[in-house]
């Protein structure tokens, strides 16, 4: 139940319209909490109904018109509450690991190509993160907020590094498997 809190965070960083939020979820925030524009609009409606955010009064709210939102004090309080409350880590699900385990039973046929493709996708994401790091965290930009945000980005960078390396390892193991295992 974190989408509303992801939106509150984004809106506190900068008041935005639904579409602007969608764009930002495609870039930074979405890297660890993805959401589609449909989800975002629905949630904006709920948050407004609950009195946690409000539409900026500047523009008229006609359809096809930008409608920007800002966070109200109640919204900030709710985000602070949620952030500090103890939460259990959610179990993660990874389809690729499951497929590999299945492959041990039904054969590895066809898997190697997708392993290779995933490796490239992770490498691409890693390059993007590094570019963001270069742009947003030059040496010297290390105020408290910068440090926290940089920490989050580092997790992304290190995770993508991990996955590229692990997939390389997996591919090298594949190369050593006897052909019979591949069905």
């Amino acid at each position: 139940m974190s989408l509303p809190h992801a939106i509150l965070t984004a809106l506190l960083e900068r008041p935005s319209s639904g579409l602007e939020l969608t764009r930002r979820f495609d870039r930074s925030i979405g890297y660890f909490w993805s959401a589609t524009h449909q989800q975002i609009y629905r949630e904006l409606g709920r948050l407004e109904a609950e009195g946690l955010i409000r539409a900026l009064p500047s523009e008229q709210p006609a359809r096809g018109q930008k409608k920007a939102y800002e966070v109200l004090p109640a919204g900030r309080a709710e985000l602070a509450r949620w952030t500090s409350a103890s939460q259990d880590p959610k179990p993660h699900r990874d389809a690729m690991l499951l497929r590999l385990r299945a492959a041990a039973v039904v054969g590895t046929d066809g898997l190697e190509a997708d392993l290779r493709r995933h490796r490239e996708l992770h490498a691409l994401q890693l390059a993007e993160y590094r570019e963001i790091e270069r742009r947003d965290f030059p040496p010297g930009k290390d105020g408290p907020e910068d440090r926290l945000r940089h920490l989050v980005l580092r997790a992304g960078i290190d995770l993508e590094t991990f996955w590229t390396q692990w997939l390389d390892h997996a591919l090298s193991e594949f190369a050593r498997l006897p052909d019979t295992t591949r069905e």
Copy 2:
């Protein structure tokens, strides 16, 4: 849409009843594809209705009686199809990273304790994985199936190692933050 395939994999490794599957999902399979017993029973019903698995005829199917299932040829074929089909990686969601980003805006108050708790949970999981590795993959146990399963376990071990280290890093950054950031 991978729960049915997780169940097919588990049943191919060993025919089981719903409860046995639940136990196995709490241990090995569930480490990368978790499921509750309610999900499992529901899915077993669907898989049986689709003709991918069948109840072993040994026991009578009364309530409170063990009912074990085995995979039919159609089920094995479906699992092989799914394993080899190309799939896009799902975007991951990580509430802790989101909370850290929120903390950069609303303050880090209360977060540090949970960071520490998560660090311990990851360390515990890591110890469990290492124990499984010691028990299930002694030197010499390296047939093709073993190699694949070991690869999956290695991902788990390396991920938990990564998270413990990253959380240590995060905690050391917290120690250096000025008190004002902590609200």
